[in-house]
């Protein structure tokens, strides 16, 4: 007999799904010119979902519903809060951009909300099937968003590229899932965790590696990073700002949940894979960015590098490691939102520009903007006293604890190299002379950039303790369930 599932644990998702439908209706009925209204309503519904997530049952313990397909726990709540924050800020940032680029269509915020819904599904997945559903909902919405400026070749190309490679990664993931199902007879994470102990069969390992490869695509870890620079560059900048944070957080937390949950006893098997991905991502992220002239491509390589650092925490395989990754993601969010707020406000005579050279002399024309950007670069480089240092701190500490000295050394070398290109941005802004002045940034963008800059230094000092304890509780809930 099929009983009616308990809906309470999934309340934030249900709310967001209904809200997305309602937003779609509002948009359709009001037609052109409803972007602002729909965007702000979307932000409001994201806040509402966040409120439901925080006050819901997930905060206190682990609750499973929908016949074990869906789980909510402090880990999921932590990740969802990050995702909702990132999505909300990204939607706020996009309003001005879309209007100026003459693509002010209400579908944009709706698609962003749907993608967010998919991400929340990913984070709460407790089953290979629900994992896939969440992932696909997210990906489909993102494919459309990448091609949102459909009249420009670059945007269409980015959308198509993302779609083809994304489909490939989904295929890999599905193939891996089917192998795992074939060899274990289950798709439930809990069941898999019970079955997969001791020495696993070769089929399971191959399946696990395929699943890991599929997820590595989504977080753009090396060697599955090829799409990132092109999609970052080609997609409309507001979409890039969305890509840079929320989906990364979702895929990363999903990655953690899969590796620590069902494959928790196979640490010896996946550890090498993650080790390699982490080291390679850090190196490629550091070296690839040196030659970039386009700031979006620079940020793409930077994000590859940052995913590498985050993976360092995961490769430690310990509870502290997962805590470190979560702290890293929280700080990564603030830095990236800030940087993209500034990139979005890079305009000369109303035309969007995205070369690093266009920032020349920014410290003379817009001193505060330049200072904020310098802070973000400083933080991305991981130099104290900016917040980025703590991310590195939180992941390298468990790595050394797990005696991953090699990885730590690679990380040190990579962050030394990456300093060079972060400093280059500061150099262009401060040392070079103005070639052509940038326009005054829009108020909203400026507010977001200022807020993020203040967070990166010095406000984070007061938030560090709550973020750390939240991440610690989240990591504990994940490991406690094992």
């Amino acid at each position: 007999m099929a009983t009616f599932p308990d809906l309470i644990p999934a309340l934030p998702e249900i709310f967001l799904a209904v809200a997305a439908m309602a937003l779609l209706l509002i948009g359709v009925f009001r037609g052109e010119g409803s972007l602002r209204l729909v965007s702000w309503l979307a932000v409001a519904s994201l806040i509402g979902a966040g409120f439901l997530a925080v006050t819901g049952v997930g905060l206190t313990g682990r609750v499973v519903t929908f016949n074990g397909l869906f789980v909510t726990d402090p880990f999921a709540v932590f990740a969802k809060l990050l995702i909702l924050t990132a999505s909300g800020l990204s939607i706020i940032l996009s309003i001005n951009y879309l209007e100026k680029e003459r693509v002010a269509r209400f579908e944009y915020p709706v698609l962003a909300v749907l993608a967010t819904l998919g991400m929340m599904g990913m984070v709460s997945a407790n089953n290979l099937i629900s994992l896939y559903i969440g992932l696909e909902l997210q990906s489909l919405a993102l494919y459309v968003l990448a091609a949102f400026k459909r009249d420009t070749a670059k945007s269409s190309e980015a959308g198509l590229k993302y779609f083809v490679l994304g489909a490939l990664s989904s295929g890999l993931l599905l193939y891996g899932s089917s192998l795992i199902y074939g060899f274990t007879g289950s798709v439930s994470f809990e069941r898999l965790a019970e079955v997969l102990t001791g020495a696993p069969s070769l089929g399971v390992i191959v399946g696990m590696v395929f699943v890991a490869a599929g997820l590595a695509f989504k977080i753009s870890a090396v060697p599955f990073h090829m799409w990132t620079p092109d999609v970052y560059e080609g997609a409309p900048t507001s979409v890039t700002s969305f890509f840079a944070v929320a989906p990364k957080v979702a895929a990363m937390t999903l990655f953690i949940r899969v590796l620590v949950g069902p494959f928790g006893d196979l640490t010896a098997q996946w550890h090498q894979v993650i080790w390699f991905c982490a080291a390679a991502s850090m190196i490629v992220g550091a070296l690839g960015a040196i030659q970039q002239k386009n700031i979006k491509r620079l940020m793409a390589y930077s994000s590859i590098g940052h995913i590498g650092y985050a993976l360092v925490g995961l490769s430690a395989g310990s509870q502290e490691g997962v805590r470190g990754v979560l702290i890293y993601l929280a700080i990564y969010l603030a830095m990236n939102v800030g940087v993209f707020a500034i990139i979005l406000s890079m305009r000369q005579n109303g035309r969007a520009v995205e070369e690093i050279a266009d920032l020349a002399g920014l410290s003379k024309t817009h001193p505060l903007l330049a200072f904020a950007m310098a802070l973000f670069m400083w933080s991305l480089a991981g130099v104290p006293p900016a917040a980025g240092f703590w991310g590195k701190w939180a992941v390298f500490l468990p790595a050394i604890q797990s005696q991953l000295y090699g990885l730590a050394i690679v990380g040190v070398v990579a962050s030394g190299i990456s300093c060079y290109y972060y400093l280059r941005v500061i150099k262009v802004m401060y040392f070079d002379d103005v070639t052509e002045q940038l326009d005054r940034p829009a108020l909203l963008t400026g507010v977001v950039a200022t807020g993020a800059a203040l967070f990166v230094f010095p406000v984070y000092i007061f938030f560090l303790a709550p973020i750390t304890s939240g991440a610690a509780a989240a990591a504990a809930s994940l490991f406690g369930a094992r």
Binding site: W393, L397, G416, Y420, L423, L464, A465
Partner: protein, 530 residues
Amino acid sequence: MADVPILSLTTFLPLVGALFILLIRGEEQNVARNAKSVALWTSIITFIVSLFILTGFDPSNPGFQLVEEVQWLPAFNIAYIKGIDGVSVWFVLASTLLTPICVLASWDAVEKRVKEFMIALLVLETMLVGMFTALDFVLFYFFFEGVLLPMFLMIGVWGGPNRVYASYKFFIYTFVGSVLMLLAILAMYLTAGTMDMRVMVDYPFSSNMQIWLWLAFFIAFAVKTPIWPAHTWLPFAHVEAPTAGSVMLAGVMLKMGGYGLIRANIQMLPEASFYFQNLVFVMSIGAIIYTSLVALAQTDMKKMIAYSSVAHMGYVSMGIFTMNQQGLDGAMFQMLSHTFVSAALFLCIGVAYNRLHTREMAAYGGMAKNMPRYAVVFAIFMFASVGLPGTSGFVGEFLTMLGAFEANTWVGLFSATGLVLGAAYMLLLFRKLFFGKLDKPEVKAMQDLNWKEVSFFAPLVAIVIIMGVYPASFQNVYNPTLEKILADHQASLRSAGLIEAQPTQTAHVTQETASTATQGQSVADKASEN
């Protein structure tokens, strides 16, 4: 007085001033003028506040004093701990004294973006004071790295023609060194379970681990100090930096390295320090002789002083690792002396540069005739740099060499050659600038020191001479701390079985040597100069 968090106050006052300057708006000239006066007053008030540190400090207590402790990140055992001991107290005061001097020195010299310059200078002061007073390792690292951004911008924005290269080189060198230190700090934290430096000082790390930790710390501080061969960033940074930047760099930032060597390498890793003693000696001798020779070959006067800095810091690293009372005492004294002497020499060069806008020695000559005051001031600091008795430089070099002779005769012998070379290049510099014919019309037109320049040279002249004539006034503050550091060091070496159980050198020997030195050594010194 005990309730006032005086160390935090000293640390963050400049930052408050910087925020004030940030808020100044209006016409460019007014902004520049106001920024300058806010910076000057902030730094003077900070200096006055920092004097209370000295009054509140009990020199006879070798432990940490004026400690402030606030819980910050219990999850990582990280707290906001501040405190000073005899080793750090003078550096705090040196930072707060040099900042107003730098503001004055850049009053007319810095013409573009004055507001930003003053902000950078004040932020730099905060970071420097913060580093010398931090007792939590993370906090220490925080401020240690925080110095980089203001300095990077100072060199890059207000520097000379080759500023971009110099600023990058400065940054990358220091950053790579200090990231290694971060790994070492992480490893120490995982072993000792705390970030509290007061605990780490006593924590016995295993011998094998000490070796690795020591190397990581040493690389970080060797870049900062700098110890040959990690010094190559320094000539570029010094030459390209504006005068105030060079003063802060030579005056205080180099001391971060020496301070770190005492605090981390000697105090926390005694066995490894013993193990690597000879390596440091070789590097220090290399620095003293090699960089002195290089300095001799320079035609750019700022570069010459920069290389002489490396040579002088060679005495510091040598003195620290003699690990006897005289050597350590001398290293501390030499650091302090170098703080004021090199700062003053860079200011002197700034005076000439502001008037003629070149650093080539050949462009000057005969200035003793038309700029007598300048010549006298320059001569005093030149003699102090050479180590003439009666100036601060003598005491530091003499004591470090005394310590070196005691530790290893050859080291002492080789280091003594540095004195001759030092005298050679400094006298050469002085001759080229001040003697000879006053035949260049643009040099003839140069004005002597104005009241502003006199006002910032006067305290430095006074300090250098007081330090030379009555060194005990400075030594008394840090000697009890050094005695304890040394006693702890010997004790841990004995317990590790590295040295035999024998009574250590009694500490008060130094007091006597310092006073008798002035008479006895002057003969020897004259001999070496001839």
